[in-house]
C-alpha cells in the first residue's frame, strides 16, 4: 500500500494534487470572459457563478466564502480575479491572498469592454501558467490530503458494492491519519442514528441529527413527499424504494470510523479523521462546498451512472454496477462491479481504488478532467434582492 504521492507544496503549507491557474469570476458579468480565456489558455480553469449581484447577508457571505475557498484551494497555483469593477474584485482577492499564492485583479469597467478584458486577462493568465509550470511535484504523505466521498445516480448496487468499497478506502485512509469528508446529510435520513452514535462528542452527534431534521422540515414545509425528488426517478429505476434505503447505502461510503467533527458548507476541517460537512444532496452544489473547504480529491460512487465532476479537484468515478461500467465506460475511473459479478472481496476492490487514487493524486488524469465534466454551483440560502 503506497502511502506517499507526488504533489505540490503551497506557500501556506497545504498540499495540492493539481497545479491550476484559476480564472475566478466574482459575479455573473465576467463569466463569459473567464470561460473565453479558459478556452484559449491551456492550464487554466474558469470558476464562475451565475449569481453574485445583489445577494445579501448570510447568503452573500457564503458565496464569497466558497469562491474564496476555491481560490485558496491547494490544487490552485495562482488566481486571476475578475469582476464588474475593481472594488468587488479586490475584496475577493483580499480573501484569497492569505494563502500566499500569486493573485492578479482585473475590473471590467476599469479595463474597457469584454474583448479588452479577454485580451488583457489572457496575457496575464499565460504568464501565470508559465510561472506555475516551474513548480515541481515532490514526494508527500498521501494521508496529508483531504478526500471527500460523494455518490450520485445511486442504485441498489451503490449500497452493496461501490459505497462499501469506498468506505473501506475511507477507513484505511483515516487509519493512516488522513481526513475523509462525508457530506449531504439529507441522504443520512433514516440512517442518521448510526452516524450520530459514532460521533466522538455529544455536540457533533446532536448536530448530525439537527442537520438531517433541517432538510426533513423543508420537505414538510413544502407539503411534499420527498420520494420522486429523493430518491430520484433514476434511483427508483435502479431498485431504491425509499430515502431511508438510499441513505443506509449512502453512508457506507464514509466507512466506519468515529465522526471527529461536523462542519458547515465550504468550511475546512480542523481535525483529522472522518468529518461531516453540511451540504445539499445535489452533487454539484455539494461538491462546490467541498471545493470551498479545500478537499483535494473527490471520490464519487455511482450506480445507474452520473457523469458530473468538479473543477479544481479531480473527481474519481467509481461504480459497482456492471451494466453502468459498460454503458458509461468513458466516464468510469474505477470499476468495482467484480464484487457483484465475480465475487471480488470489498477489501480487494478498496485496495485497487487506493492504488488508483494515489496515481491520480500524483498526476494521472480522471475521466472527468479529460472530458471536462466540471460543473460548479454555490448553494443559495436566500433570494437575491
Amino acid at each position: 500500500m503506497n502511502t506517499q504521492f507526488m504533489g505540490y507544496k503551497r506557500p501556506d503549507g497545504r498540499i495540492g494534487v493539481r497545479n491550476l491557474v484559476a480564472l475566478l469570476s466574482v459575479m455573473d458579468n465576467t463569466n463569459a470572459v473567464a470561460n473565453r480565456i479558459a478556452s484559449i489558455v491551456d492550464g487554466t480553469i474558469a470558476i464562475t457563478t451565475p449569481f453574485g449581484r445583489t445577494q445579501i447577508g448570510f447568503d452573500h457571505e457564503m458565496t464569497l466564502k466558497t469562491l474564496a475557498g476555491i481560490g485558496q484551494h491547494p490544487n490552485v497555483a495562482s488566481v486571476l480575479v475578475m469582476s464588474i469593477s475593481l472594488e468587488s474584485a479586490n475584496r475577493m482577492a483580499d480573501m484569497i491572498r492569505p494563502s500566499g499564492k500569486p493573485v492578479v485583479v482585473l475590473g471590467l469597467q476599469e479595463t474597457g469592454g469584454t474583448l479588452e478584458l479577454t485580451a488583457k486577462g489572457a496575457r496575464i493568465a499565460t504568464d501565470l501558467v508559465v510561472k506555475a509550470s516551474e513548480l515541481n511535484r515532490e514526494k508527500l504523505p498521501f494521508s496529508d490530503l483531504t478526500i471527500a466521498v460523494e455518490c450520485g445516480g445511486s442504485d441498489a448496487t451503490s449500497g452493496i458494492a461501490g459505497n462499501p468499497a469506498m468506505g473501506l478506502f475511507a477507513d484505511r485512509f483515516v487509519d493512516e491519519g488522513g481526513t475523509i469528508i462525508l457530506s449531504e446529510p439529507a441522504e443520512f435520513m433514516g440512517a442518521e442514528h448510526l452516524l450520530a452514535a459514532r460521533a466522538q462528542n455529544e455536540r457533533d452527534g446532536r448536530r448530525i441529527v439537527e442537520m438531517v431534521k433541517w432538510f426533513e422540515d423543508e420537505a414538510k414545509r413544502h407539503g411534499v413527499d420527498m420520494r420522486g425528488t429523493n430518491p430520484t426517478p433514476d434511483n427508483m429505476n435502479g431498485g431504491l424504494t425509499t430515502l431511508e434505503e438510499k441513505s443506509l447505502g449512502a453512508i457506507a461510503k464514509g466507512g466506519s470510523r468515529p465522526v471527529v467533527e461536523t462542519i458547515e458548507y465550504a468550511d475546512s476541517p480542523t481535525k483529522r479523521g472522518l468529518v461531516i460537512m453540511n451540504t445539499p444532496s445535489a452533487a454539484c452544489e455539494s461538491m462546490t462546498g467541498l471545493l470551498g473547504g479545500g478537499s483535494q480529491i473527490i471520490l464519487f460512487s455511482t450506480g445507474r451512472g452520473n457523469a458530473i465532476g468538479a473543477p479544481v479537484s479531480p473527481t474519481v468515478k467509481v461504480t459497482g454496477n456492471p451494466n453502468t461500467a459498460q454503458a458509461m465506460v468513458e466516464n468510469i475511473d474505477v470499476d468495482v462491479s467484480a464484487i457483484i459479478t465475480a465475487g471480488e472481496s470489498r477489501e480487494s476492490a478498496a485496495a485497487r481504488l487506493w492504488d488508483e487514487v494515489v496515481k491520480i493524486a500524483s498526476g494521472k488524469l480522471t475521466r472527468c478532467e479529460i472530458l471536462r465534466e466540471d460543473q460548479l454551483s454555490v448553494s443559495r440560502w436566500a433570494p437575491s434582492v
Binding site: D155, A156, T157, G159, I160, M189, G190, A191, L194, F215, E216, A219, K220, R221, H222, G223, V224, D225, M226, R227, N230, M236, G238, G239, T241, T242, L243, E244, E245, L248, G249, G303, N321, N323, I340, G343
Partner: protein, 95 residues
C-alpha cells in the same frame, strides 16, 4: 451462481442480482437459514423481493434497518418497491 443477496439476518427482503421472471425458484437465506422461494413477480436487476409474507403496515427491513412500511400486504416472492412500500421520513404530504 445464485445471484441473490440478503444483507442482514433481520432483513425481510432480498436483492436479485439479475433480471428474473415470475415463477423462477431461487434459494435465499431467510433469518440465517436457506429457503427456497418461488418468485411471484418479475424482479428487475438489483430490485427487492419479499423473503416472507409481510402485513400491511409492517416494517420493511434491509441492512438490518427499517427502510419503510408496507403500504399493502406483500406475499413471499413478490416484488417489493414503490408500489407496495412507503417512506416513513420527510412526509410533508401527510399532515
Amino acid at each position: 451462481m445464485e445471484n441473490v443477496m440478503v444483507i442482514n439476518e433481520k432483513d425481510n427482503v432480498g436483492i436479485s442480482l439479475s433480471n428474473r421472471a415470475a415463477g423462477e425458484k431461487i434459494a435465499a437465506k431467510v433469518g440465517g437459514s436457506m429457503a427456497e422461494i418461488t418468485l411471484a413477480d418479475d424482479i428487475p436487476y438489483a430490485h427487492k423481493f419479499a423473503l416472507k409474507d409481510i402485513n400491511r403496515g409492517e416494517k420493511i427491513v434491509k441492512y438490518g434497518e427499517i427502510i419503510g412500511l408496507a403500504s399493502q400486504a406483500i406475499k413471499v416472492g413478490q416484488w417489493v418497491h414503490v408500489h407496495n412500500v412507503e417512506s416513513i421520513r420527510a412526509r410533508g404530504d401527510k399532515k
